[in-house]
Subunit: 293 residues, 2 copies
Amino acid sequence: MTKFHRIAVVGVGLIGGSFALALRQRGFSGEIVGWDYAEVLGRAEGRGAIHRGSTELAQVLEGADLVYIATPVVLTIELLPQILRGVAFGTLVTDTGSSKRAICRVAQEARPAGVLFLGGHPIAGKEACGIENADPDLFVGAPYVLTPDPPEVFETEAASALLEWIREIGAQPTSLDPETHDWALALVSHLPQLLSTALASAIWDETDEDGLPIRIAGAGFRSMTRLAASPYEIWRDIGLTNADNIGRALERLGQKLERIRTALTARELEEEFRKAQEIHERLEALRSERRRS
Amino acid sequence: MTKFHRIAVVGVGLIGGSFALALRQRGFSGEIVGWDYAEVLGRAEGRGAIHRGSTELAQVLEGADLVYIATPVVLTIELLPQILRGVAFGTLVTDTGSSKRAICRVAQEARPAGVLFLGGHPIAGKEACGIENADPDLFVGAPYVLTPDPPEVFETEAASALLEWIREIGAQPTSLDPETHDWALALVSHLPQLLSTALASAIWDETDEDGLPIRIAGAGFRSMTRLAASPYEIWRDIGLTNADNIGRALERLGQKLERIRTALTARELEEEFRKAQEIHERLEALRSERRRS
């Protein structure tokens, strides 16, 4: 099934490393070359994610027919012009950034004719990052958003091959325009992250020398603060490039909390629980569907 | 180790059923009698949680030397006077309510001299309730708050026996006054629940006929909305009896969210992530401690 002979993975952390491991586990027979810090490259080779690596971007791009960028959003934006101008005609460049408008805009501006760009975002991750947490099954059952811009990129053979590999590693590709992606992700990813951070940080402010209240916290608090371990560096970039949507999502949630506060001793609280339960059920249904497919 | 000969479990749902199952699994050799709807009692007997049951409270209380009340908070408040006046002198009555001030107040008012009351709250639970979800290991590693009021109840033999059983089923007893309990729980339990509800309900408001945004939600959203499946009936009672503390907690969180919103593209966001990470680390440390002990 290989349509690619050499894949350059730019940033061999949790996502880039997992993608490389997943490809090799599913029988990718081409070469995978990594770009990162020397120390990370050593570990990525040790784990069998990449065949070889280099800290020189130009060397890694040489002869690659697919470039898979898996760096934080702002670094992706910085590297994109250099990558798009450094690859051969016909090469497909894709990325994994959690916000897509800024990245796709830069790609359109910097892309030479004949070089292909397809924005991507695997909705897979953990609060623990780095190559040491990479996992070939990370993408199994995960939505994988692609933001073809212009849409014609989908008609290329390279894009079809990437799609096939995305399905092969267990992810479920779906197509959205960058604007819709950024609004939807603000709601189901960026907002939940910041809520988890806000909750944990608010509890930090309240915690006394006796260890209260966290020493009597149970499983519910733990699941609501799991995301609080996520690295600031990743989220700083997402905040910077999706601030308008996230701000709007935070405002809506603020209104919802205010509504719940005033409904604490009133019947309207039931309506909020009913909606919440319905979302929970729909999520579970989506999850079973994905498992079946 | 049995100090009790007959335990009456009032409300044989998730908590009452799990307590009964846990006692029997750890060698409790006395009799366990349940009070609930006939259908629930049948299932509880079928699961081996109780020896026998009755829908008549007076029958269940007869001869019990420990009464374990595991009903929703408002029903507990309604039943308490009847229970405290219906048991023999020397009997220990305890409960499992998630808010403690209102319950302890009613208990103090209704308690005849010679009948003991010790408020309790196992910080264990699941979003799924009912005897069918009861689990003898539900309490393993869980904090178990006791609110002795007056403190002298701790010096009784019956209270010591209850404490021994709480440890025996794997929980970790800790003592707080009802006021501190209600404030601490508002922060680490009631607030997280309502945040989860608010998030899921806000997403319900935004969900379109195309299934966006939830059809591209990942694991982070799932963990943040796990609690959204919790039953309204339980939380209505908690809202009614702890509205002042929960209102205050919601206000603090609202301020925190506002701070995060204005810091989205600023350095101050890092401070919030740092605090959040520290809380996460402290939680993990507490958890390992509990596992070791």
